[in-house]
Amino acid sequence: MSSFKEVYDKMDWEESKASIYSKTSKDVERAIAANHRTLEDFKALISPAAAPYLEQLAWVSQQLTLQRFGKVIQLYIPLYLSNECNNICTYCGFSYDNKVKRKTLSGIEIMQEVQHLKQMGYDHVLLVTGEANHTVHVDYLKKALELIRPHFAHVSMEVQPLDLLDYKELVPYGLHTVLVYQETYQREAYQIHHPKGKKSNFVYRLETPDRLGQAGIHKMGLGVLIGLEDWRTDSFFTAVHLDYLEKKYWQSKYSLSFPRLRPFSGGLEPKVEMSDRELVQLICAYRLWNQEAELSISTRESEVFRNNIIKLGITSMSAGSKTNPGGYTVEQESLEQFEISDERSPKVIAEIISAQGYEPVWKDWDQHLM
């Protein structure tokens, strides 16, 4: 099958990086003024040359987001089903070599957590696991979906990449959205950060969105883990990937995330720091280049940052998240994936969204539509 690998193989990391860093203020001004912005424009918008134009970027990003999405912010919550994992990832709390007791939720435990999330007001849930194919396999995911589906309008999943047939099998169980982050498109760095486990297969991960598209998944989420490699180059590769997917799987929706490396027990220091200003620049650049992609911000970010990013291009947020299985009720002290930064409750976040003149939206999908 043809896949993004064909596009990727023709790209060169260092060449792309040099091209981004050589963009000038003229390129930035042309990109801001353009009607339809190209991938070259996107390079200019994420380049250091665009830094002085941040206020202008923010303004255009706000306008474009308002026109497309209106004054609304979608709320969702992660539900960690398992922290078992056979991969070694240098930056992740669930890494196999982190010798801490592991937990996978049983059916009864899933329902206890579900009940709690419903009480918090949620209707959109994101299921998260590590990668442990002997326990958290397709049958486990099917069972989990069967239990969870009747209680939520929208179910998304951030689990290990699966085969095409597995995705096809899960769709009838109410699976709407799958998030799969490449972590980094820099292949050598990818191998260093993923030395062991199925995840060490760079190409299998790179081709996952193609399998999602072929399986007819309604929405897929892309992103890189910011801190592993030069974020501008990684974001450009993400944009090229999205551009390819949009054209090929034209019936799918897309979302983007920009997680910055967070501390966890025994964790890795980021190789590359990204400032708040730079994160705003990236978010706005994505919006100027692509008006339709959903842009999501998690509780990794600080309270102040989250309060202020609402109006700048973001379309969805989580709140009150726990990153450990059973974290809401069942086993609050189990191993977490990373420390969250914004611990405020969904009620408080909803009030903050309203206070900014936006409507917090709890339901924007229905199981009866698929």
Partner: protein, 255 residues
């Protein structure tokens, strides 16, 4: 009065319920618009009736007729299923059929839309399909019993106005069902223009919801639609070239 199916409408401004900054503001703006038909996305409402729904609670004013829409479905089969759910949950057999499998520009799928319209009419629905400004498709929809047609003026949410005006005029001139111009109307002048060329109604959402003052903008649209309709009924004076030729071409006939 405008008649669609078995209902009569005093207002020719139809409205949407998305993109507002709060449900309260939405209600206020929709009341100010004078609209009697409001469309609501099934994806945004609780269909099982298990919980009190914020959005529906704000649409309870007696003048509002609900027009559930199928936004989010990708083919005829999903649309028919969603419409049946809507009929059960919202107790109306009216459905705004939206099948746009392309989430980027939300372009309606003509093939699936025609299929779904035929099936829904057979099932007793009053169907209002959102379509491209395609005159032949409008006739085909008429033949299978559509209650109205809802061609777009420009891409949905774009506020670009009537980019498809030449095709809208053809549709209006040959339609036997009401023509409601559905998407792209960005300003009251666009709405007035649509009414002047003979549209039976317009549907406006983004331009009201995303305005800095949605209530005032709703009133502006209400007045524009009324003005445009009056102008259509009064028949616009023809546009003429100002100067007559200095040496008339037919002067020789008088000699």
């Amino acid at each position: 009065m405008l008649q669609i199916g078995d209902k009569f409408f005093g207002s020719r401004l139809f409205t949407g319920t998305g993109k507002f900054s709060s449900a309260e503001l939405m209600e206020e703006a929709l009341i100010a618009s004078g609209s009697e038909l409001v469309t609501v996305a099934l994806r945004r409402v609780q269909l099982d009736g298990s919980e009190q729904d914020d959005l529906l609670g704000r649409l309870s004013a007696p003048q509002f007729n609900l027009l559930p829409n199928t936004s989010g479905v990708r083919n005829a089969k999903e649309a028919v299923f969603a419409a049946q759910m809507a009929r059960e949950a919202l107790e109306t057999n009216w459905i705004k059929l939206e099948i746009h499998p392309d989430p980027k520009y939300l372009m309606p799928d003509p093939i699936e839309t025609l299929k779904a319209t035929e099936e829904l009419v057979r099932l007793g629905f009053t169907v209002l399909p959102y379509i491209h400004a395609d005159p032949v498709l409008c006739k085909r929809l008429e033949e299978v019993g559509t209650a109205a047609v809802m061609p777009l003026g420009s891409p949905i949410g774009s506020n670009k106005g009537l980019k498809t005006v030449d095709f809208l005029e053809i549709i209006i001139s040959q339609s036997r069902v009401p023509v409601i111009i559905d998407a792209g109307i960005g300003s009251p002048s666009d709405a007035a223009y649509a009414m002047e060329i003979g549209a039976d109604a317009v549907l406006v959402n983004t331009a009201i919801a995303v305005s800095e003052n949605p209530v005032q903008m709703a009133v502006a649209f209400k007045l524009a639609v009324q003005a445009g309709r009056m102008a259509y009924l009064a028949k616009l004076a023809p546009i003429v070239n100002r100067a007559a030729a200095s040496s008339p071409l037919t002067l020789f006939l008088d000699e």
